[in-house]
């Protein structure tokens, strides 16, 4: 017990909490795109993390092989995933809008394996590193915070802020919020829902590209990187209330703190176990998610 109390009041625990917060920023960004698309188009992009993977490859090849500065490569990565978002909607989702949810899941799940397999054939299975390090912020003798994680947190929080302003202050944003509640009424108010779906898919793709740029700074890219982030992103969205962007944002921080605190007291893997146990318990108590709106 004394050992636990010592650990709890240790300076390293504070570092753990801050790292959890920073990890939460990236997870929040990941969940934002998926939630936005689900909230508006009503289809879960199970292949969302694979779009991020292709964005990471784009950034890697442009920066490492073509020698393009990493900022420009990141911009190109975002452009590529934006186009991919549009294509996923136009080629797959568009034809499944009125299909049963299971068919939509199977289709986007099939796309996941298609993208994963294609990446494996095209790029091989080796792990590739961008080789960019931003160093660490030395807070005190004992606390080091990764600049990459701080950057990720700031950009994720900034994206959430920009998206919030867009959704709450513009007519397009109001239409997006409205269509997530009643998709049948909007055309009768003059809204072209097809264009709105395309725009939302493009924004979802762009957010995947931004996540790709931030993940490429911290993780190796390989064809299966999506498996590391896809399931956890989906669980965050479900825990926050699928389609609820604010809920997903908050759930990302709950998840990230559980992972890092679990990792602090045991191994990182136990941190994931703790987070998943809490997720499962949440599903028993509030299957609609912690922050689901009353309908």
């Amino acid at each position: 017990m004394a050992e636990f109390t010592d650990a709890l009041f240790s300076i390293f625990f504070v570092e753990t909490l801050i790292n959890g917060l920073l990890l939460g920023g990236v997870l929040a960004l990941l969940s934002l795109g998926l939630n936005l698309v689900f909230g508006v188009v009503d289809v879960v992009w199970i292949c969302y993390a694979e779009i991020i993977m292709l964005g990471m490859y784009t950034i890697y090849f442009l920066h490492v092989d073509a020698g393009i500065p990493v900022i420009i490569a990141a911009g190109c990565g975002i452009a590529v995933t934006t186009i991919l978002g549009l294509l996923v909607h136009r080629i797959v989702i568009h034809y499944l809008l009125d299909a049963a949810p299971i068919n939509q899941l199977l289709a986007t799940g099939g796309l996941l394996f298609f993208l994963q397999g294609s990446a494996m054939v095209a790029f091989g299975i080796e792990f590739r590193n961008l080789g960019v390090s931003l160093g660490s912020l030395i807070v005190s003798e004992d606390i080091y915070l990764s600049w990459t994680r701080i950057l990720c947190f700031v950009l994720a929080a900034g994206s959430v802020g920009v998206l919030y302003v867009f959704l709450s202050r513009s007519y397009l944003g109001a239409a997006i919020r409205a269509i997530s509640q009643d998709r049948e009424i909007m055309p009768l108010m003059g809204v072209d829902t097809k264009k709105l779906y395309l725009l939302t898919s493009a924004i979802g793709g762009a957010l995947a590209g931004l996540a790709a740029a931030l993940l490429a700074l911290q993780y190796d890219v390989h064809p299966f990187i999506g498996l590391s982030f896809g399931p956890i992103t989906f669980m965050i969205c479900v825990m926050g209330g699928l389609g609820n962007m604010v809920g997903g944002f908050l759930a990302a921080f709950i998840f990230s703190e559980l992972i890092t605190i679990g990792g602090y007291f045991a191994d990182l893997e136990w941190g994931y176990v703790l987070a998943f146990v809490v997720f499962i318990a949440t599903m028993f108590v509030r299957p609609e998610g912690l922050f689901a709106r009353k309908s």
């Binding site: 109001a174 009643d182 049948e184 003059g190």
Partner: protein, 249 residues
């Protein structure tokens, strides 16, 4: 301003609307009545674009709108209300109407025009035009008014009013009926009104069209239709005298 010819809709082997013709002049109010399942909603759905006709033509101000997608039909000048109000609860009352005002009328409104369209629609039905009032503060009558305000904010030439009196008490019904008359008189909007409460409808409309099993069985002035034996047989029944008295007023 509206010419409907040969309008037909099948659902599999079932014919919901069969070869229906009617015309409307600008500023006219047409009552569309008939028993449940007679095809009134199907006609509304075809006029507003949520259903594509199997045959026939719908021309609004000389332009064919039959079969066009609903957002285009709305932008060409058709506004619609619903029997069960469908407000966007995440948005305020003003935002609900402003969204319709922004996208509805030809889809090119400016931000200021949208607010103006919304404020005009809300003021006409007597709802608050401040940006803070929420939909949750509205009762049954308020929600019906919001339906009308949203449709009016699209600046329609033709308004499709679907059972605007359902769920209202007697004084609210009279207010709603007066409101439809005001909309016609102040804005010059042409109205098709589906309603089951005949006593009120007959006092307001210029003309009545009666449907049964997807076919038009009568059309004419309210007092003539109320006295039509076929209409009495299939729809009015024991209420015929009361309806005829209302039509004569």
């Amino acid at each position: 301003m509206l010419e409907v010819t040969g309008l037909t809709k099948h659902f599999g082997g079932f014919t919901a609307v069969n070869n229906v013709d009617f015309n409307l002049d600008k500023g006219e109010i047409l009552g569309l009545i008939g028993p449940n399942g007679s095809g009134k909603s199907t006609i509304f759905n075809m006029l507003s674009g949520t259903l594509v006709p199997n045959a026939g033509s719908v021309r609004l101000n000389g332009r064919e709108i039959g079969g066009a997608p609903p957002h285009k039909i709305c932008r060409m000048g058709v506004g619609r209300t619903f029997q069960i109000p469908r407000p966007i609860r995440r948005l305020s009352i003003l935002e609900n109407a402003a969204l319709a005002g922004y996208y509805g009328h030809s889809g090119v409104a400016t931000r200021e025009e949208a607010w103006r369209n919304a404020a005009e629609g809300l003021a006409l039905v007597g709802l608050p035009t401040d940006p803070y009032s929420t939909v949750d503060t509205l009762g049954a009558a308020g929600l019906k008014k919001l339906e009308l305000a949203k449709a009016l904010a699209t600046k329609p030439d033709l308004l499709l009013a679907d059972e605007s009196l359902g769920g209202l008490d007697h004084s609210e019904m009279d207010q709603a009926a007066d409101m439809l008359r005001n909309i016609r008189e102040e804005l010059g909007v042409t109205i098709i009104w589906v309603e089951h409460i005949m006593g009120v409808l007959m006092r307001v409309v210029d003309r009545v069209m009666v449907l049964d099993h997807g076919e038009k069985i009568a059309e004419g002035k309210p007092q003539d239709v109320a006295a039509d034996p076929k209409v009495i047989e299939v729809y009015l029944g024991s209420d015929a005298d009361e309806v005829a008295a209302a039509a004569a007023r």
